[in-house]
């Protein structure tokens, strides 16, 4: 597991997406209304829409291309559509740093 400080919580407007890129990895990161930050692959399983541009409602994001609804907790596409994107754990520390945890195999892919 690799810890990456992505930025400060103040750089994340509430209920909006930001794009995080490292190597070939591109994630959509969202600050939810409860203050937590979520990270998922920035690629809708349907037609590769950029999820970072979607409308965020609670812990769901709607893909901007064809309105697929994806749960930001686990990356699961909601019915009636089907599919899944990878979700990555994120923490916000006391100082407000947004920390992303990447699995080792992901690290190998990006570095």
């Amino acid at each position: 597991m690799n810890r990456v400080v992505v930025g400060h919580i103040s750089e994340f407007p509430a209920r909006s997406g930001r794009v995080f890129r490292a190597g070939t990895l591109e994630l959509a990161m969202f600050r939810l209304s409860d203050g937590t930050v979520k990270a998922v692959e920035n690629r809708c399983p349907h037609k590769q829409g950029r999820l970072s541009e979607g409308i965020v409602c609670d812990h769901h994001v709607y893909c901007p291309l064809h309105d697929w609804k994806i749960d930001l907790h686990d990356g699961r596409v909601q019915a009636p559509d089907e599919g899944c994107v990878d979700a990555y754990p994120v923490e916000v520390d006391e100082a407000g740093n947004v920390i992303l945890f990447l699995k080792d195999e992901v690290e190998a892919k990006v570095s």
Binding site: N2, R3, V4, V5, V6, G7, H8, E11, P13, A14, R15, S16, R18, V19, F20, R21, A22, G23, L25, M29, S33, K47, Q48, G49, R50, E53, G54, I55, V56, C57, D58, Y62, P64, L65, D67, K69, P80, D81, V98, L100, L102, V106, E107, V110, S111
Partner: protein, 814 residues
Amino acid sequence: MKRKLVMIGNGMAGVSFVEQLLKLNPGRYDVSIIGAEPHPNYNRIMLSSVLAGEAGMKDIILNDWDWYRDNGIALLAGQEAVAVDAAARTVSTNGGETLPYDELVFATGSLPFMLPLPGADKEGVIAFRDIKDCETMIETAERYRKAVVIGGGLLGLEAARGLINLGMEVGVVHNSPYLMNRQLDETASRMLQAELERQGMKFLLGKQSDFITGEERVTGLTFKDGSHEAADLIVMAVGIRPNARLAKNSGLVVNDGIVVDDYMAASLPNIHAVGECAEHRGVSYGLVAPLYEQGAVLARKLAGADGDGYQGSVVSTKLKVSGVHVFSAGRFADEPGTKALRVQDDLDGIYKKVVFENGKVVGAVLFGDTGDSSKLFSAIRGGKDYTGIEKEVLFGPSGAGGKAESATDLVAAMSGDEIVCGCNGVTKDTLVGAIAEKGCASLPELKACTKASAGCGGCKPLVEAVLSATLGADRVAAVKEGICGCTPLSRDEVVGAIRQMHLTTSKEVMHVLAWRNTEGCSKCRPALNYYLGMAFPEEHEDERESRFVNERNHANIQKDGTYSVVPRIYGGVTTPEDLMKIATVAEKYRVPLVKFTGGQRIDLLGVKKEDLPGMWKDLDMPSGYAYGKSLRTVKTCVGNTFCRFGTQDAIKMGVDLEKKFERLNTPHKVKLAVSGCPRNCAEATIKDLGVVAIDGGWELYAAGNGGTRVRAADLLTKVKTEEEVLAWTGAYLQYYRETANYMERTSEWSLRVGLETIKRALEKPEDRDALNARIDKALELTQDPWKQIIENDDLRGAFGVMTATVGAQAADGK
């Protein structure tokens, strides 16, 4: 203990039967399938596409290896069943395995019929039946030039077409004087022949093959009349016959095919047959639909469910031969006692023939346009008496003097695999399935389950018709459809509550009106943001996070995640300076595509999100709002500035309108146009508001549309001065803003509320003044978004990408 089901054959009919069985009763059997080909179940009908190079093997697989594994089916691929011991209830294979069974299903399909011509065993003489034949043909085409196909039926023509695509010269030999004589009448056949000849196919019709020439490899084909045709490859496609040899050897009664009863049972206990290998009431079928019907009957029986037996099928043929659509069904040949209705159009290559007997449709042939096929097929099966109204079958009640077909009739005539919702590819069968199996009893439920009508919404009447046809009109639940799934409240109720309770944020609305989802959904969030801004322009703070991506980023998102940038070009009038500026920016940011829009401006497409603020800064032009629910363009013609027909200054009128109403938030996009004379070159009568100059005044047209549903605009009023045009436009737009549903174009809005209502609301000068006062207030508060973003660090920052080097300790953000 599960019962053992063994199936010999791994083709479309058999596997479809297994699928249906698993659906009905997944736990009853351990299923083993013996398949001679080393492939999982593929779509044999698509072989011609593989040959034509349009599809690969992967594309035509119907059930992949995972499907067998996931359903716990043991597939013995590449093995042949060689013996059945009906007494011991076992099947043995050439792989040395012996499988015990409780139920045995023959789904052995058919074999190509090889003409017993002398020389048919030479190298280069093949059939066209499976993947291997396709591969042989592809390989042959690489080394040889000339092919002869024996058989002018569907299979032969498909093989011929494929070989032409592979670059071979192809001659088609047929013993009948015309092609596809079993599916087409002579007229249609001649039309088909002409089209195929145009595509490069050669025909040798009315020829009887005699023997094949060549040493080891084929060199040609000699006919009974003594003529000869050279060939490096001969493909026999004269027909198929049931593959019933093993069944016969096993002691089953076999005529041409394995004889079965109405429940697909063969002549020995616990043995059944489905598909092309079976013979039911003297008929073996070679088309998919009857085979699937047989599979369904057998699946019900073996699942232990009740059901009617198989009654035989009326077959129809609907195909595409080399890009030409043909259809035939029933008895389409002229016989004593029949009368035919014929339509022949050589200009467009269309031919239709419907055969009647005693007023009933008994057969039909369609060539070139098969749009009527489902209707005709149901007419044949339905047996309705059309005496006196025969022509309605082809021309509809309107053509025969009645009124147009209703959605219910349209839906009734649709076949199951026909697509009802074109945006999301939902078929009639899928809808019927969702109603029957998932219990959908209302339009919103059906929409949530299948996504039908969730795209452009144009198919809503059809989806509703499927629902009432399937359930019965009285059983369709009248569900009150709220503005989205979060609330049962309608637009008017929501807007009423916002005004009455003076709600100014979405959060308040959702809380007070008890929204089901506390933060709403992608439907209601943008809608509420609009309604709040419309009702309280000064107090409501625009909620950026509730805006759709295009309005948040002030650019149009494209399918690859890039954006397009359209600067404002008032009235479509530009200057050399602006054009140079646009060109410089396009070069600097390496814009991949520069295109003129339909609205007389310039679109810069393929821009990265990060580059947007920089481009806007360099352009230094106002946003064209090409992305917004807002005023898009005011299209103009030259008017009396240059045009010899112009009666008024259309350009100035258009520029004034665009300058006055730009940046306005509206329920949906709004397009305007001004034409300088009644020739209407600016196409003003298909705009949300169109202005047409006449000598001494202007005509205003309302609620036109040139998009999803074309609609000519209605005349709203005639005025004398430019000031009046502006005042009427302002009042009209504000009335639209205040009464339309979010995402409702003026054309739909006007149909819903009625043109008379709109005219009444605008007829008194004092009402128009009040509306104008409110729209002026809203306009006063707008500012150019591009400029706003360039000047605000936080807004601009959100366009950037965050990066980090992974691996370094606590890499720095941004």
